[in-house]
Symmetry: C2
DNA sequence: TTGAAAGCGCTAACAT
DNA sequence: ATGTTAGCGCTTTCAA
């Protein structure tokens, strides 16, 4: 690997001059520049970023900590992050905390070792003070950890609301909400939005908590059997909704005639099951991109006007809810 | 940010001593060590990895280039890579080439700038010479680019074979293979394995090429209608299989009585559709982990015995094929 | 417009 | 067992 000295020697100039041309900084004669550029090309010289960073104390890389990688929400967000990071010359270091705070800690230490310029965090941990003392620009995904720490979240309250609205407008009176683990803020927010709309219409609903990974179908079946006159169901994930649909099918209930179902996530599955699932779609790629944009301006300007961004969701109406040409 | 000098001053020793204690190298008196460690703790000193790497010319980070991120195969592999990388103190830099060779080039340049210690590549590009001149340990995923470049692949030939075997053993005579784009090596390999088994049983099959993302259901329908006495179908993805199942349902065909279907991938969907899908399962996490293991020994030893690893697949039998208690 | 030289934070050979 | 120091590859101030 050739270094700056080799280039300088080859071009018969000093290292300072070479540095000037590769950084497009300071005065350098056009002829000298050409000479240097030729030498660079011939030697296939690529500046060592470590030496550079050692001096400048920036790394042009950002760190991303997610609680999981194999989860469609996170990897789609990641794709959004990566896209905008690349466009702006940032590298992204990916970290899977595995919901483990120690592991997250270790990653954070890595980050300072490597002069990481910024952090995007999607974890559920609670080491707020650590984030703050790090003194590195940070953006949180899908969760407000602190008034001061910028965030980009999916509009979960709105998502719950719009799901309820659909069900209510379509005439549902006996509603169940099969939701995710209630410790999750996203789940709490969806519940708030969902219940708000029900409240406004003087309705209530039963709530059943399920795991997101491998939701227990037995529990679903029992609930369904205990509530024979159910006519509306909101599920916090399409996977849950798919299970609900299959249980409903076993019970001989017709969807959407007897029962209407709204899912969440709009994963591919939702278009492939029968009936096709009406669902709330989150814009993950956009969340990732917006997070990276926030982080970028935070890193450049040291501050951010629009601290907490909410990315709207969209209700995708398919066959598991009645089509309603009257209201809309 | 305190540096090694600050620690040395605080502990009343030289920087060399501090370096010795943080690296656990060379002799250092137990009392001095304690003194230094105390200073480190008090100052919250974290060594600057750039300075370190500048000297040592290693970065303890590996680069991963994938053609896409939002694809269950890649992110599951990524999770496997990340796991084993973390265990061994490696950071992973993630790059989405977006199937764009220029973009991949740029990433490769980044890699040398950052003294990346090793590369895992899952792309379909063809810049082999570039890989070689980089002179960085490299491992390829799911594809042998060169005899010399180690690889870890899913056993696609075996996957095709085992799918065919099931269908044949279950008595299928009129078989269709709905496959992915035939440019993909993985698709070619599955075809080879599938046809090999058919050959051995004096059978042939029709082949239909489809896109993996958004496969055209009309094409599927037409094929199915044109082949009314089809009794066995192999699909190169569960998504395709789900569409096939839904078309079959529309046509009034019973699965598995009239037609038996085998999918590929074992995504969650395959357990949620009706009937539950029999499918070939790839061990993505293991592929990632094995790739990282190969890369690790390659980086440590400069060489690797077992150059081309094949990770076996597994046929998961569910409801879309007849259960067969006789043969097995 | 260019070059010399100091220094970024660290490691390791050498000296003590 | 510990300290001194050169140097990793680069940027930038200062001087010419």
């Amino acid at each position: 690997m050739p270094n700056i000295k080799d280039v300088a020697k080859k071009a018969n100039v000093s290292v300072a001059t070479v540095s000037r041309v590769i950084n497009h900084k300071g005065y350098v004669n056009i002829e000298t520049r050409l000479l240097v550029e030729k030498a660079i090309k011939e030697l296939k010289y690529i500046p060592n970023e470590f030496a550079r960073s050692l001096f400048k104390k920036i790394s042009k890389t950002i760190g991303v900590i997610f609680p999981h990688l194999s989860n469609s929400f996170y990897y789609n967000v990641l794709e959004g992050i990566e896209e905008f990071a690349f466009e702006n010359g940032y590298k992204v270091m990916i970290c899977n905390s595995n919901e483990d705070e120690e592991r997250e800690e270790e990653y954070l230490n890595q980050f300072v070792k490597y002069n990481i310029d910024g952090i995007i965090i999607g974890s559920n941990s609670n080491i707020l003070s650590r984030y703050k003392e790090l003194n590195i620009p940070i953006v949180s995904i899908d969760r407000i950890i602190d008034e001061e720490i910028p965030s980009v979240s999916s509009d979960n309250v709105g998502g719950g609301y719009v799901a309820a609205k659909k069900l209510v407008e379509n005439g549902c009176k006996n509603i169940i909400h099969f939701r995710g683990p209630s410790i999750l803020l996203t789940v709490q927010d969806r519940t708030i939005g969902f219940n708000k709309c029900l409240d406004e219409n003087n309705l209530t609903c039963d709530i059943v908590d399920l795991a997101f990974i491998d939701p227990e179908s037995k529990l679903i079946r029992v609930c369904l059997e205990n509530n024979p006159n159910i006519d509306g169901i909101f599920c916090d994930s399409d996977t849950i909704a798919a299970i609900v649909l299959s249980e409903l099918n076993h019970m001989g209930k017709k969807v959407p005639d007897d029962v209407q179902v709204v899912g969440y996530d709009n994963i591919i599955l939702s278009q492939l099951i029968i009936p096709k699932l009406s669902t709330v779609s989150q814009k993950m790629f956009e969340i990732g991109k917006e997070a990276m944009i926030s982080l970028h301006t935070l890193m450049e300007n040291g501050t951010l006007d629009d601290k907490h961004k909410l990315i709207p969701v969209e209700l995708i109406e398919r066959e598991s809810t009645k089509s309603n040409n009257l209201t809309k």
